[in-house]
């Protein structure tokens, strides 16, 4: 038997052709997205500081660089989401094709987690939620009555919008369910991201193995606290 004649392409073209390259793209875009998710949760904690803090933060953010910062950020995040999803679909299809005939008597897994096994499903739930969330708090399409409210200084009353919305149990439950899906997704993906980038080796491995679940729990606790506090009456108008 002779060695295969075709040799690998070098550089970026070869990388993008390979499964590892696709995974590196998923990891890099995932890094941006998880970074966004973490700062989004942390900034939302201003809900507890009252209307003035949250509304002025939102107002300033929206008008930073004449609105350019927000729009630039949105475009960048959208590009990351698009690449992340495209690579996910490419790899998922490939992985499905790699075992055309499944085990008739089933496979007995030993170490994997539900989070790892349901990445595609939780990913779809997150995508649907992001669309809903944007229509809700950014576009004002869902519940427009809650959205079009101004505070005493004529700014968009983000604080009142959030609190009024979460008073509705159905809305809160949608946010809670989506955030549980997000937590599952993050608990596997953040650690996986380090593995794919080749950073999860040697003495960092035990630490990085806990980073995913830790970030997932951090984001989950923060994000769940908002609807729960409103429902419990801890934050009220």
């Amino acid at each position: 038997m002779s060695a295969p004649k075709k040799t690998a392409k070098r550089g970026l073209a070869g990388l993008m052709d390979s499964t590892i390259g696709a995974k590196i793209l998923m990891a890099l875009t995932g890094f941006v997205l998880v970074g966004f998710v973490v700062q989004h949760m942390v900034m939302n904690l201003q809900l507890y500081a009252g209307p003035e803090a949250l509304n002025s933060y939102a107002h300033n953010l929206k008008h930073m660089m004449g609105g350019g910062f927000v729009w630039g950020g949105r475009a960048f995040l959208l590009a990351c989401i698009a690449i992340h999803i495209q690579m996910a679909m490419k790899l998922t299809n490939r992985n499905r094709d790699a075992r055309p005939q499944r085990y008739a008597a089933g496979q007995r897994t030993q170490v994997t987690s539900y989070a790892a096994q349901f990445m595609a499903l939780t990913g779809v739930v997150i995508l649907l939620f992001v669309i809903y969330h944007l229509l809700h708090f950014t576009g004002g399409v869902v519940q427009p009555d809650n959205f079009h409210v101004l505070d005493a200084e004529g700014r968009h009353d983000v604080w009142r919008m959030v609190v009024t919305s979460f008073k509705d149990p159905a809305t809160s439950i949608a946010y809670i369910v989506a955030n549980i899906a997000l937590a599952f997704h993050l608990s596997h993906s953040v650690t996986s991201m380090f593995a794919t980038l080749g950073l999860q080796s040697g003495r960092y491995r035990p630490i990085l193995a806990k980073v995913g679940p830790a970030i997932a729990a951090f984001v989950l606790l923060g994000n769940l606290s908002f609807p729960i506090s409103v429902l419990a009456g801890l934050v009220h108008i």
């Binding site: 038997m1 295969p4 040799t7 392409k9 550089g11 390979s18 008597a105 897994t109 980038l197 080796s201």
Partner: protein, 254 residues
């Protein structure tokens, strides 16, 4: 441990050829000695089948001492069966109880087409090796031991990765039928040693390229491969592979 004979019910994947349809067929094996290896139990069944003029079950085996990597079957949903770090040939019937039902299937992956029954064609692994899993050196006579100093830690790690016997259990266990642990073991093994360092970059690029063209899946970091590996190749092999691949892609060297 008792020497009492066991009665086992087997559900074995029977498939006449690569494109023939297959199915699980049920066989009863009485008189199973608990000290028999799993393959010896299949030998006994095959002798019975031959006496009845039936087609014996085709399965791969060679050394029967756990070092060749030929025996390949998924026993009750796990490659090489229930015991950790044990090939099928080193699995003994005492790991089961009399009256047990055991399901036996071949490795399932597009890159490992079934030849017959439990035998699969694993030459995809050979082609991956041929595309870079070697060192191109003039070997000459056997060099003196320790003529080339290698640190103890590197030597130990290289040896651990070199323990891979290429059986394909990693692919069989992977939910994505990925060969990353196998390729990672070879890349990490050779990359740890000065002899392998020379071709480190072209090796990883070419081996990953062949791995992809053979139709294996991609890694999603489940860890099932390492958990099923009879030689316990650590999952770090995959991290090393990812790192080497990214580095080599952007390197200007040959």
């Amino acid at each position: 441990m008792s020497d009492e004979k066991m009665k086992i019910t087997l559900h074995v994947w029977r498939q006449k050829g690569p494109s023939a349809p297959g199915e699980l067929k049920t066989y009863k094996v009485d008189n199973v000695n608990p000290h028999m290896s799993f393959l010896e139990m299949l030998d006994v069944l095959n002798e019975e089948l031959l006496q009845k003029n039936e087609d014996p079950i085709a399965f791969d085996h060679d050394c029967r001492e756990g070092i060749c990597g030929m025996c390949s079957m998924v026993v009750n949903g796990r490659p090489h069966g229930p015991r950790k770090a044990t090939t099928t040939c080193q699995l003994h019937m005492r790991s089961f109880k009399s009256g047990d039902e055991i399901y036996i299937e071949p490795w399932r992956a597009k890159a490992f087409p079934i030849i017959k029954d439990l035998m699969v064609d694993r030459s995809a692994f050979d082609r991956i090796i041929a595309s870079g899993g070697y060192v191109a050196v003039h070997t000459g006579g056997a060099p003196d031991a320790n003529a080339l100093p290698i640190g103890k830690k590197d030597a130990d790690e290289a040896f651990d990765y070199a323990a891979c016997i290429g059986c394909g259990a990693c692919v069989a266990a992977c939910p994505n039928a990925s060969a990353m642990l196998f390729v990672g073991a070879k890349v990490a093994h050779l990359g740890k040693l000065p002899q392998g360092e020379v071709e480190r970059r072209s090796r990883v690029l070419n081996m990953v390229h062949t791995m992809d063209t053979e139709g294996f899946g991609a890694c999603t970091n489940h860890g099932e491969c390492s958990a099923s590996c009879p030689k316990e190749i650590p999952l770090e092999a995959i991290m090393t592979l990812n790192r080497d691949y990214a580095r080599a892609s952007f390197s200007g060297d040959e």
